[in-house]
C-alpha cells in the first residue's frame, strides 16, 4: 500500500515533467515552422533570386567599336584582330613552370619575376595576357601545344588607326578610369566625345555554373551590338596632301574649311603622334609623346593659339566702317610710324606706304592705317565685334581640351593683369598682335564669316552633327570693300601675296591675307640696334608665318588657314602652302 502510493506520486511527477518537455519540444517545432514560413513564403522571392544568381554566371562579351569614315567612306578607324598568349591560372597548378617553358621555347623575352608577381594576385578564371603572338610564334606554339595546359592563344579585337595624320582628330581609346567599366573607352578627341555613339553594347553569355564556377551548360546568348559608325567631314585625300606639304622642319598646321556648311575638310598639325601606339600599349613611345617639348599631342590647328597678326586687320576695318569712323575712301599718309602719347608705333615697312586708303591698307597690310583707325576705336567694341565674327570663342567640334583664345578687353585686363587699358594697346590689338590669341581654326571661321556676310556655319568635323549658324549679318557694302581688298592682296601687284600668282599662275585664283605673328615683342629701341637682328636670326625667336586664304575667288568654297611656327613672314612661307592646298581642294573638288 505504502509502495503503491509512492509510485503513484512519482508517476504523477514523471507525467507532469513529460508534459513540460513535450511542450517545450512543441514550442521549438512551432518556432521552426515560423522560421520556415519566413524563409520559404515571406522571403521566397529573395532566396529564389539568390539561387538564380548562384547558378547563373553572366559573362560579358565585348562589342565591336563603331567604324570611323572620312567623307568619301574611306575607313579611318576600324577594328582589327590580333592574337595573344594568355594564361589561365586555374587550368594548371604549375602555371609558372609553363610560363618559363613558353619563354624559352618561343623567345618571348618575358619579364618572369614581374609576371609571377602580377599573377599571384590575379583572378584564376580570367586570362592573364603574357604577350602578343605573331604568326611565327603561333606556329611554333601550336607545334608544341601538348606541353602547355594553362597557356592558350586568344584572339582579341584592337582599334586600328591606319592614318597617323588623323590621330590629332580621332584621338585614341584606353582603359577607363572607372574600374567597373570592362571595356576600353574613348580617352581623347572624337573617340572620347562620340564614345557613346561608337561604343556599342556588350553581349552577354548566360551560363549555368556549379559551385566551383564550372560551366554546366549555356543558357542563353545575347550577341554584342557593334557601335554606330561615324562619318567625318575630313577628306582623306586632302588631309594626306596637306600633311605632305607641311614643312617637316617647322611646327605648324593647316585647316581647310568648307565655307558653305562648316565642314572641316582637313586639319593637320605638325608634329603629330601615332594613336596606334596607344592601342598597342607601347608605353615608351606614349611617354615620349607626353614629355616631348614639341608637343606632338597638341592639335595646333585647334588648340594652338597665336597672335593672328595682320590676318586680323579686316576686323578693325569692318568695325571702323560699321561705326562710321572711316569709309572706303578714307586716306592717311603712312610715314612708317605713328605716335601716341610720346610713343612711336611702327609700320612693318620702314619708310612707310605713303598715301594709303582702306583697300591699300589691307592689300599691302599697312600698320599705320590701322594705328590711326585704332586711335578712335574702343577696345571693348573691338573685342565684342571680333567675337561676333567667330574669334574669342570655344568651338565644340568633338576635340578635347577646347579653348577660346583671347581678344582682350578692359575687363579682361583688369581681372587678369589688374591694370587699366591703354589706348596704345588698342593700336597693337588692331594689327593682331599684343594680347590677341587665335587658333588657325578660329581664323578660318573669321574668314568664313567675312565671305558668308557675317552669318557663318558652325565648324563641324562629324557629318552626323547638324549644320548651325553663328554671327551677325554684315553690311554687304562693307563686306564687299573688305573682300575686294583681300582679293587685291593676292591678285594685284604690290599685294602682300601677289607673288603667289607669279609663282603658280596655273593654280586656282585665291583671295587672302598674310600675317606675321610676333613671337617677341619688338621694342622701338630694339628696331635700330643689333639685338633685333640677332633675335631674328635665332630660329625660336622668329615670327610665326600666318596666312588665311579662300578659293575660288569668284565664288569661294574653300578656306585655308595656315600657320608655320617660326616661319618668318606670312607671305614667304604660309601663303604658298595655303595656295597649294586650296588649289588641290579645288582641282580635286573635295
Amino acid at each position: 500500500m505504502e509502495k503503491n502510493k509512492t509510485s503513484q506520486d512519482s508517476i504523477k511527477i514523471f507525467n507532469r515533467r513529460s508534459f513540460i518537455i513535450t511542450f517545450i519540444g512543441l514550442i521549438i517545432s512551432l518556432i521552426i515552422a515560423i522560421r520556415l514560413f519566413s524563409l520559404q513564403i515571406i522571403n521566397n522571392s529573395f532566396y529564389k533570386k539568390k539561387s538564380v544568381e548562384n547558378k547563373v554566371s553572366i559573362k560579358s562579351t565585348p562589342p565591336l567599336r563603331g567604324d570611323i569614315f572620312d567623307n568619301q567612306k574611306n575607313l579611318v578607324a576600324a577594328n582589327s584582330s590580333f592574337y595573344e598568349f594568355a594564361i589561365y591560372k586555374n587550368l594548371n597548378k604549375f602555371f609558372l613552370k609553363e610560363v618559363n617553358q613558353l619563354n624559352s621555347l618561343i623567345d618571348l623575352d618575358l619579364n618572369i619575376p614581374n609576371i609571377s608577381k602580377q599573377l599571384q594576385s590575379f583572378n584564376s578564371y580570367i586570362p592573364f595576357i603574357l604577350s602578343r603572338a605573331n604568326w611565327e610564334q603561333i606556329v611554333k606554339f601550336e607545334k608544341n601545344k601538348f606541353l602547355f595546359t594553362s597557356i592558350k592563344i586568344i584572339e582579341s579585337k584592337k582599334r586600328y588607326y591606319p592614318y597617323k595624320n588623323l590621330s590629332q582628330i580621332i584621338g585614341y581609346i584606353g582603359k577607363s578610369s572607372d574600374s567597373s567599366e570592362l571595356y576600353p573607352q574613348g580617352i581623347f578627341h572624337l573617340e572620347k566625345t562620340f564614345d557613346d555613339h561608337l561604343r556599342g553594347k556588350p553581349g552577354k553569355i548566360f551560363n549555368e555554373v556549379n559551385s566551383r564556377g564550372k560551366i554546366i551548360r549555356e543558357i542563353a546568348i545575347e550577341e554584342p551590338i557593334k557601335g554606330k559608325s561615324l562619318n567625318l567631314t575630313i577628306n582623306l585625300k586632302l588631309q594626306n596632301f596637306a600633311q605632305s606639304i607641311l614643312p617637316s622642319s617647322n611646327k605648324g598646321s593647316i585647316v581647310v574649311l568648307n565655307r558653305s556648311d562648316g565642314s572641316i575638310l582637313s586639319m593637320n598639325s605638325n608634329p603629330t603622334y601615332d594613336a596606334q601606339l596607344f592601342e598597342d600599349r607601347n608605353n615608351d613611345a606614349i611617354n615620349s609623346f607626353f614629355n616631348d617639348s614639341d608637343k606632338p599631342l597638341l592639335n595646333r590647328a585647334f588648340n594652338g593659339f597665336y597672335p593672328p597678326g595682320s590676318v586680323f586687320k579686316p576686323v578693325p576695318a569692318l568695325l571702323g566702317l560699321k561705326k562710321n569712323i572711316l569709309n572706303e575712301n578714307t586716306e592717311i599718309i603712312c610715314n612708317g610710324f605713328t605716335s601716341l602719347a610720346d610713343r612711336n608705333y611702327y609700320c612693318w615697312k620702314k619708310g612707310g606706304h605713303g598715301r594709303v586708303d582702306l583697300k591699300k591698307a589691307i592689300k599691302e597690310s599697312c600698320d599705320c592705317y590701322f594705328y590711326e583707325l585704332a586711335k578712335q576705336i574702343n577696345i571693348d567694341d573691338l573685342s565684342d565685334f571680333a567675337n561676333s565674327l567667330g574669334l574669342n570663342m570655344i568651338y565644340n567640334i568633338g576635340l578635347s581640351n577646347a579653348q577660346k583664345g583671347l581678344i582682350p578687353n578692359k575687363k579682361w585686363k583688369k581681372t587678369y593683369l589688374d591694370q587699366g587699358w591703354y589706348q596704345g594697346e588698342t593700336l597693337i590689338s588692331c594689327i593682331g598682335q599684343g594680347y590677341n590669341l587665335t587658333s588657325p581654326l578660329q581664323l578660318a571661321n573669321l574668314y568664313s564669316a567675312l565671305i558668308n556676310g557675317g552669318k557663318f556655319p558652325y565648324p563641324r568635323l562629324v557629318k552626323e552633327e547638324p549644320i548651325t549658324y553663328l554671327g551677325e549679318e554684315l553690311n554687304p557694302k562693307h563686306q564687299k570693300v573688305i573682300l575686294n581688298a583681300l582679293k587685291a592682296a593676292v591678285q594685284e601687284p604690290s599685294g602682300t601675296a601677289y607673288k603667289l600668282n607669279i609663282e603658280n599662275p596655273s593654280f586656282v585664283k585665291i583671295g587672302g591675307k598674310t600675317g606675321t605673328s610676333q613671337v617677341v615683342r619688338i621694342k622701338e629701341e630694339d628696331r635700330e640696334d643689333d639685338l633685333y637682328k640677332t633675335k631674328e636670326t635665332e630660329d625660336r625667336f622668329k615670327d610665326h608665318s600666318v596666312f588665311v586664304g579662300y578659293a575660288p575667288i569668284e565664288d569661294p568654297k574653300y578656306i585655308a588657314s595656315v600657320i608655320i611656327e617660326n616661319g618668318g613672314s606670312g607671305s614667304a612661307v604660309a601663303a604658298p602652302i595655303a595656295h597649294k592646298v586650296l588649289n588641290f581642294a579645288y582641282q580635286e573638288n573635295v
Binding site: S10, I13, G25, I32, Q40, N44, S51, N54, K55, I216
Partner: protein
C-alpha cells in the same frame, strides 16, 4: 535473456511503419542529393539499413530485464570505447571520432547517448524516489553525464557532446529533480556567460559571431548557412520539385548528404513538405511518450521518454541548424543524414523503444 519469437508480432506496427517511412524519405532525399543517382549515398545507406536489421531483431528480442541488468556494463564499454577512440581513433575532418570495428568505422559517441539513458533509467529506477529528487541524489547521473560530455567534447565533437549533456540533464529533470535546481542553473549560466565568452578562443567567438551574422564571412564559415538558407528559401510553398533543387545539383550546398540533408529536402518539397516532415517526426516522438503514461515502471518510462526524445531533439537541432536558428554544430538528421553510426544507433534506439512498448508490464519486473 531473450523473449519469445512470437513477441515480435506485438510490436507497435504504426511506429514501425513510421520508421520505415522516415527512412524511405531519407533514401529519396539521398537519391536526389546525388542528382538522381543511387550512387554513392542512397544505395550505401540502404545496404547499411539491411545489414543492421539483424541487430534490430536481436535488440527486439532482448528481455528488458536483461538490458536493465547490463546497464552499467554498457556504460563501461562505451567509456572504454571513447577512451580507445581518443587514443587510437581514426582522424577525419580534424577530429578523432571513429574506431574501426569489423570493417565499419564506428562513432562510439553515438552509443554514448544510449548507454547514458540506459544507465540513468536504471539509476533512477533503483532510487525508487517517492517525490522530487534533491541535488545529492542527482550527483551521480550528473557526474556521468559530464564525464561522457567531456570525453566526447575533447574529440572534439561539440554537437554530439552537447546532445549527450542535454539528454543527461533532461533525464534528471524528467526523473523529478526539484525545479529549483534547473532554475538556479539557468540563472547561473546567464550570469557567467559573459565570463565564458572571454574564456572562448577567438576562433570560437568568431564562429558565434558568424552564426549571428553569416554575412561576415560569406565564403568561409558563413558559406554553409547562407547556401542552406538559399536552398530552403528558394523552395517556396511547394518546393522546386523532386530532383529540381539547383542548390543541391550544382553543388552549392556543402555537406548536403550529412548535416544539410534537410535543406535538400526542403528545397525540393518546400514549406508544405517541411511541415509534413516535422509532423511525422512529432508523431514518431509522441507514440512512445503516450505509452509512458500507461507505464508505472521507472526504468521503462525513462527509457521510452528520453530515447524517443533523443531522436526528436536531434531532428529539432539539425533543422534549426540548417535554417540558421542555432549555430552549425554537426548534429545529424535521424534516419536521413548519410552515416552509419548515427543510423545504427537510431535503429537500436527504435528497437529498444519497440521492445519496451510491446512488453506487458509486471510489477517487480526489474527487481
Amino acid at each position: 535473456m531473450f523473449k519469445d519469437f512470437k513477441s515480435l508480432l506485438n510490436i507497435n506496427w504504426i511506429y514501425f511503419f513510421l520508421l520505415l517511412i522516415i527512412f524511405w524519405i531519407g533514401e529519396i532525399n539521398l537519391y536526389s542529393a546525388a542528382g538522381g543517382k543511387l550512387d554513392p549515398w542512397a544505395i550505401d545507406q540502404l545496404k547499411r539499413f539491411i545489414y543492421f536489421l539483424p541487430i534490430v531483431f536481436f535488440v527486439l528480442l532482448l528481455q528488458p530485464k536483461f538490458i536493465f541488468n547490463i546497464a552499467e556494463l554498457i556504460l563501461i564499454a562505451v567509456i572504454l570505447g571513447l577512451l580507445i577512440t581518443l587514443l587510437f581513433g581514426y582522424t577525419g575532418m580534424g577530429a578523432k571520432r571513429w574506431i574501426r570495428v569489423g570493417g565499419l568505422n564506428l562513432q562510439v559517441s553515438e552509443f554514448a547517448k544510449i548507454s547514458l539513458v540506459i544507465f540513468m533509467a536504471k539509476y533512477f529506477h533503483k532510487l525508487n524516489a517517492q517525490k522530487t529528487i534533491g541535488i545529492m541524489r542527482a550527483t551521480i547521473p550528473l557526474f556521468v553525464s559530464l564525464a561522457l560530455f567531456l570525453l566526447v567534447a575533447v574529440q572534439p565533437d561539440l554537437g554530439t557532446a552537447l546532445i549527450v549533456l542535454i539528454l543527461g540533464l533532461v533525464a534528471i529533470f524528467y526523473a523529478g529533480i526539484k525545479l529549483i535546481y534547473p532554475f538556479l542553473s539557468f540563472i547561473a549560466i546567464v550570469l557567467i556567460s559573459p565570463f565564458l565568452w572571454n574564456l572562448l578562443k577567438p576562433y570560437q567567438q568568431n564562429r558565434i559571431k558568424i552564426f549571428l551574422n553569416p554575412d561576415l564571412d560569406p565564403l568561409g564559415q558563413g558559406y554553409h548557412i547562407i547556401q542552406s538558407k538559399i536552398a530552403i528559401g528558394s523552395g517556396g510553398l511547394n518546393g522546386n520539385g523532386f530532383l529540381e533543387g539547383s542548390q543541391s545539383s550544382l553543388d552549392f550546398l556543402p555537406e548536403k548528404e550529412t548535416d544539410f540533408v534537410f535543406a535538400i529536402f526542403s528545397e525540393q518539397f518546400g514549406f508544405s513538405g517541411s511541415l509534413l516532415l516535422i509532423l511525422i517526426f512529432l508523431i514518431f516522438f509522441l507514440i512512445p511518450v503516450f505509452k509512458t503514461f500507461k507505464l508505472t515502471q521507472v526504468f521503462s518510462k525513462i527509457m521510452l521518454f528520453i530515447l524517443s526524445f533523443k531522436i526528436f531533439l536531434e531532428f529539432l537541432i539539425n533543422v534549426s541548424m540548417t535554417i540558421g536558428l542555432v549555430p552549425v554544430v554537426g548534429v545529424a538528421l535521424p534516419f536521413m543524414s548519410y552515416g552509419g553510426s548515427s543510423l545504427l544507433s537510431n535503429m537500436i534506439i527504435c528497437a529498444l523503444l519497440m521492445n519496451l512498448m510491446s512488453v506487458e508490464e509486471k510489477k517487480r519486473m526489474f527487481s
